[in-house]
Every structure is written in structure tokens, then in C-alpha cells.
């Protein structure tokens, strides 16, 4: 017999009506993801944002700017093995073993030395002890910083104390943008968990409810076919689940953008990765959860037992979530597509088995 969508829709409508009358189901169904979508950004972004915030404006004037400079090009290096530069303006120089004080060093390379109360710009420093200075657009390696302000620079292998970094990177310490991206990414799997968990709650009522109320038998005596009945019941679970997921996602995106846009200077969500996760991966997980619940429903008579067992569908997602949090897996468009493909293959394989389980004869004879 050909599949009649209208027939499946009749079944779905009835189930949705039942959910509406069971307000507590709808309550748990919608509240959890919605709460999650509001709480997650607030919990994970708000407390850390101040850590990255400016500690007040800094300005060049406030630095120990000397009133007069010697120009290194004009004066030449001061004599001695260990030249001492005080109030020098150094441009495009190669300095080895020097000590600079109250100076400005631009476009230069400094290797081993001591720099205090100076401004360093667009330079490369290595093995230098730097104190009370301002470093801009530079790279610093194997050095020590004390009470310095570093802007838009790259630090590596450098010890620092009482120093402040602005838009600078150093290994082992991530930038605000990286941090926020990581936080937002880790929540991606939370959003795949929703469509894997919510169907378990609804399906346990939808299938076990029919079973314990013995309401399926009269329905089976009507012209509705097995596949139409299954599709109808699946739709009634799929629609509210995906609605809850997507509404939560929209809320979540808005909140993330509102919280992070001022910090990172751009809109983070939605991006390609999230779109794939929400529109492909999540629905596939939802279908997997529904199919699994048909099996569970055939075997148990108790809503709680069904939820317990049906909940195991989330285990692979939880594993991924944990691996992501530990940095073992990084979510990417490719990884999500791969995951989606895997879940799709499972869905397809389980579909045949679920349909076999969802036959009139089996429902009446084998379902206990």
C-alpha cells in the first residue's frame, strides 16, 4: 500500500494534541533546552569576560617619556663592550649586549640585554630583561618582562610578572577570541544532546503510553498502515523536539552574540559549523533516538525504564562532548559532516529493524 502522508499527519496531530494536554511533558520538553540556551552563555562567557577586559586606558604620555633623545644614527653607539643607551632614539639597529634606559627602540633587533623605562615598537627581542616598558607590534622570545604593557605582540618562552597583554598571543595562553570560540564550540554538542534526549522523554510517553493504555489496538484495526502509524508518531516527536532545539539555538546565538560581540568585535553565531550541526546532525540524532525508543518500548512497560534505557542514545554524544572539552577532538565542518554521515548510516540501518518491530502483529503479540 502506498504511503499516505495525510494518514501519518492524522496520527501526529493526535499525539501533539495529547502532548498539549499533558502540559508537564511540554514543560520539561521546552524548558530544559531553553534554560540551557540562556544559562550556558551566561555561565560560560560572563564570568570570564572581565578577565580579558581592559584594566583602564593606557596612554603614551603616561610613559616615562624623556624630553630629549640622542639619535643613535647620529651619535653612534656609546663606547664599551656593553653599550649603555640612555635617552636614545634607536631606529633599524642591531643591538647585542646592550642596556637601554628611557629610550625608544623601533624596527630593531635586540639580542641579550637589559631594557628599562623604554618604548619598543616593531622590533624583535630575544634574551632580554625588560622592565617598566611598553612593547608594541613586536615579537619577544626567551625574555623576561616585569611591569610591562604589551600590545599586539607575540610572546614565546617568556616569563612575565605584573605585565599586561593586549591583543597579544603567547603559547599556552589563548586570546579572548580563541577562548570564546572554544566555549561556544563546546556548547555545540550540548545542542546535539537536546535532540538526542528530548525524544527519549516524549517517545517513552508516546509509545509506552499507548502500550500501557492499550490504546494502539483499536488504532491498528483502522485503515492506517504500519508505516503511516510509525511515521505519524515519529513526526509528533520530531517536530516539537526540533522546534525546541532550533528555538533554543536562536536564543543561544542571540545571547552569545550580545555577550561576545563587544569583546571579539564580530558576530560569532551562526556559522557554517553550527548550521550543519543544527540542520543536519541534530535532526539525524533525533531520528536515531526515536528509532531506538521503538525498540525499548517493545521490551519494557514502564516509562521510567524506557527513559533510562532510551537515554543511552546520548552516550556517544556525551563521549564526544567530553573529548571536546578535553581538547582531544576539535569540532569542524568536516568532523560534523563525518559525524552526520555516521549517524545517517545508523539511522538507515536501524530504520529497517524499527519498522520490523513496529508491525501490527508484533505489537499485539510480542510487545509485552
Amino acid at each position: 500500500m502506498a504511503f499516505r502522508f495525510g494518514m501519518a499527519w492524522v496520527v501526529a496531530k493526535k499525539d501533539l494534541l495529547q502532548f498539549r494536554r499533558n502540559r508537564y511533558i511540554i514543560f520539561t520538553l521546552l524548558l530544559t533546552p531553553l534554560l540551557l540556551s540562556v544559562l550556558m552563555p551566561v555561565i560560560s562567557i560572563t564570568p570570564v569576560a572581565p578577565l580579558f577586559e581592559d584594566n583602564g586606558d593606557f596612554n603614551y604620555i603616561a610613559l616615562h617619556r624623556p624630553e630629549t633623545y640622542f639619535n643613535l644614527n647620529e651619535t653612534g653607539l656609546p663606547p664599551g663592550e656593553f653599550p649603555y643607551l640612555n635617552r636614545y632614539y634607536v631606529d633599524s639597529a642591531d643591538l647585542n649586549y646592550c642596556s637601554a634606559n628611557n629610550s625608544v627602540i623601533v624596527n630593531s633587533t635586540v639580542k641579550d640585554g637589559l631594557i628599562m623605562r623604554s618604548v619598543i615598537e616593531s622590533s624583535h627581542l630575544s634574551g632580554v630583561f625588560i622592565k617598566d616598558s611598553f612593547i608594541l607590534n613586536s615579537t619577544v622570545e626567551g625574555s623576561s618582562l616585569i611591569n610591562c604593557t604589551v600590545v599586539n605582540s607575540t610572546l614565546s618562552d617568556t616569563m612575565k610578572r605584573d605585565s599586561r597583554l593586549y591583543d597579544s598571543t603567547e603559547p599556552g595562553q589563548i586570546t579572548l577570541t580563541d577562548y570564546i570560540s572554544l566555549m561556544v564550540d563546546s556548547m555545540l554538542f550540548m545542542f546535539i544532546l537536546i535532540p538526542a534526549i528530548v525524544p527519549t522523554i516524549i517517545a517513552s510517553y508516546s509509545f509506552i503510553g499507548e502500550k500501557t493504555g492499550k490504546t494502539l489496538e483499536p488504532v491498528l484495526a483502522t485503515p492506517v498502515s504500519d508505516s503511516e502509524l510509525f511515521a505519524g508518531k515519529a513526526m509528533a516527536i520530531f517536530i516539537p523536539t526540533m522546534l525546541a532545539t532550533l528555538v533554543s539555538f536562536v536564543l543561544f546565538s542571540l545571547l552569545i552574540d550580545i555577550l561576545t560581540a563587544p569583546l571579539v568585535g564580530r558576530i560569532l553565531l551562526p556559522d557554517m559549523k553550527w548550521m550543519i550541526a543544527m540542520l543536519i546532525t541534530a535532526p539525524l540524532f533525533c531520528i536515531m533516538a526515536i528509532e531506538l525508543n521503538v525498540f525499548v518500548s517493545a521490551k519494557v512497560n514502564d516509562v521510567r525504564a524506557a527513559q533510562q534505557i532510551g537515554g543511552s542514545v546520548v552516550l556517544p554524544v556525551v563521549v564526544l562532548f567530553v573529548m571536546m572539552s578535553m581538547g582531544m577532538v576539535k569540532s569542524s565542518v568536516f568532523m560534523l559532516l563525518l559525524l552526520s554521515l555516521a549517524v545517517f548510516l545508523i539511522d538507515a540501518a536501524v530504520f529497517g529493524l524499527a519498522m520490523k518491530m513496529f508491525k501490527r502483529e508484533r505489537i499485539l503479540v510480542d510487545w509485552r
Binding site: Q18, R21, G213, K214, V219, A221, V365
Partner: protein, 312 residues
């Protein structure tokens, strides 16, 4: 018309329904009477195209229960033993769901729902949750649901089981109403009284059909009619009973002690011929007959003796 030919259903090693042959005619109320666990539900489920037979076949209005399952389900109404109403929905919503499953056009469906709720006196409760209805009301609603698409064949599985006497009467009235509309009603029951009151024909069933006939035919066919002789004095000795048994045409003889008399019950297919001979034997034995009256066997007697295997 329902035509059943050698219908058998096994579950593993258990044979629930064993080679049933039966015809049920249009406009007939047929009662399948049997103990719990006799396989009545399995037989009806096969006829309602819910499960497949292991062997044999059946047709409903010419349609095969194996090949025309979809078509048959459009034409039949089936009320399972547990009514299975959606308790959290209203009566109207329950009826609407089933009406839509049967593809009744929307406008026709709404008027049909009104009509049924009115007919079954449920209009006042149309928007209450089914869980708040009494058991009798629920059963009426379940019957309304079963006939919403005006099926020509209706299967009712134990429609009055678990109901209080008042609700039972209520449901029986509904079923007699359906009978008057000329449909085939196939009624599963273990309630003798119900079968006797509602059914045109009864099949006594315990895995197989043990006897079929109208309630009257069943009781008369086995033991004929029974004549009760009330004797005022003395006891009826074995010799007298032996003599009566010896009369040609006697099927069964039993003796019961009443308060002030003895009741001699004689079953025979030809009571008019046999009774004078019995009176003669009694008179010759010096017993005075105070009263002679005709009595029919109750369905209960017939049923018990068939089910317990006292008669074949």
C-alpha cells in the same frame, strides 16, 4: 457475511485457535461464548486483520483477511476487550481521531460526532477528559468510536466485562440498538446471560467451535425439552428411574428434592409422547403426581456441560 474456513492460529507450541469453520450471516448477532483464555480474542483479531492466521482462511463480505487487509479494515469496526480510549483527550477528540483515520470528510465527521455523542447521551461531557467519565460512559464512547465510520461488520470483544450491572444494561441496550440497524455483530463474551439476551446464534468455543446454534436450538438440541413432574410423597427409587430411562425417547432423567416434594426432571425430544408413559410408570409405583410442567434447559447448563466435555 463472514465465512471462516479452517482458521488456525498457533503461538509457538500453543494452538490458540484450532481449525474453526463458521459462517455468520448479514444482519446477525453472533456470540462466541467461551471461558477466559479460550482463544476468542485471537479469533477476532484474525478476523479484524490484526494478526495473520497460521492456517486456514476467512472472508468478510467476500474480502480475504490475508489479501484485502486494508480494505477489510475500512469496512469493519473493532472494539477490543480493553476499550483503549485516549484518557487525556475529550470524547469528541477521540471520535475525531478515529473518524479521520477512517477518512471521513471533515464536515461529515463533525456532524457524525455530534450525532453519536447525542445518541449515546455523551453530549454534555463532550469536552471533558475521558478520564473523568464513568466506566459505562467510557464503554459507550468506545462503541461510538467503533461505529463512527458506519461499518457493516462489528467485532465486540467482551464489551460488558468489568462493568457494573447498571452500566452493563446501558451497554447492552446500545448493542441491541446496533443489531436493529442490520449489521453483522460478532460478539465475544463469557457472559451467558448476555449471549442469550443479545445473540441470534451462539458458538460455544474453547479453542475450537464446540456447538453452534440459537440459544433455543442449543438447549433443545442437546437434551430436547425438559418436563418436570412434582411428586408429593415418597422417594423415587432407582428401580423407578431405571424404568423411566427405559422408555423410548428419553434423553436424561434427574431427581431433585424440594421443600415438600420431589422433582423428577425428564428430558426428551418428544415430550408429548413420553410424558403420559412417565405418568403411568409413576402411578403404577404408587406415587401421586401433583404437577406436570414444561421447562427449558438454561444456556448455562448447556454451556457448562459442553465446556466441561460432558457432551460432545
Amino acid at each position: 457475511m463472514i465465512h471462516i474456513e479452517g482458521l488456525t492460529r498457533r503461538f509457538g507450541s500453543l494452538t490458540a485457535v484450532d481449525s474453526v469453520h463458521l459462517d455468520v450471516n448479514d444482519g446477525e448477532v453472533f456470540g462466541l461464548l467461551g471461558p477466559n483464555g479460550a482463544g476468542k480474542t485471537t479469533l477476532v483479531r484474525m478476523l479484524a486483520c490484526l494478526i495473520l492466521p497460521t492456517e486456514g482462511t476467512a472472508t468478510i463480505n467476500g474480502m480475504s483477511i490475508e489479501e484485502d487487509r486494508g480494505l477489510i479494515r475500512e469496512k469493519i469496526g473493532y472494539l477490543p476487550e480493553v476499550p483503549g480510549l485516549y484518557e487525556d483527550l475529550t470524547p469528541a477528540q477521540n471520535l475525531r481521531f478515529f473518524g479521520e483515520l477512517h477518512g471521513i470528510p471533515r464536515e461529515r465527521l463533525e456532524s457524525r460526532i455530534d450525532e453519536l455523542l447525542e445518541e449515546f447521551s455523551l453530549s454534555r461531557r463532550r469536552n471533558d477528559a475521558v478520564s473523568t467519565l464513568s466506566k459505562g460512559m467510557k464503554q459507550k464512547l468506545a462503541i461510538a468510536r467503533t461505529i463512527i465510520h458506519e461499518p457493516s461488520v462489528i467485532f465486540l470483544d467482551e464489551p460488558t466485562s468489568g462493568l457494573d450491572p447498571e452500566a452493563r444494561v446501558m451497554v447492552r441496550e446500545v448493542i441491541s440498538g446496533l443489531r436493529d440497524e442490520g449489521r453483522i455483530i460478532f460478539l465475544n463474551t463469557h457472559n451467558l446471560d448476555e449471549a442469550e439476551k443479545l445473540c441470534d446464534r451462539i458458538g460455544i468455543f474453547n479453542g475450537r467451535i464446540l456447538a453452534v446454534g440459537s440459544p433455543d436450538e442449543l438447549s433443545k438440541g442437546l437434551w430436547g425439552e425438559r418436563t418436570v413432574f412434582r411428586l408429593l410423597d415418597g422417594s423415587v427409587g432407582e428401580d423407578i428411574i431405571g424404568a423411566i430411562r427405559g422408555i423410548d425417547g428419553i434423553l436424561d432423567v434427574s431427581v431433585e428434592r424440594a421443600m415438600d416434594s420431589t422433582l423428577l426432571k425428564v428430558s426428551s425430544a418428544r415430550p408429548d409422547e413420553v410424558s403420559p408413559q412417565v405418568v403411568r410408570v409413576l402411578a403404577e409405583a404408587g406415587l401421586s403426581v401433583a404437577e406436570v410442567r414444561r421447562e427449558s434447559h438454561t444456556l448455562e447448563e448447556v454451556y457448562h456441560r459442553i465446556i466441561t466435555g460432558e457432551v460432545d
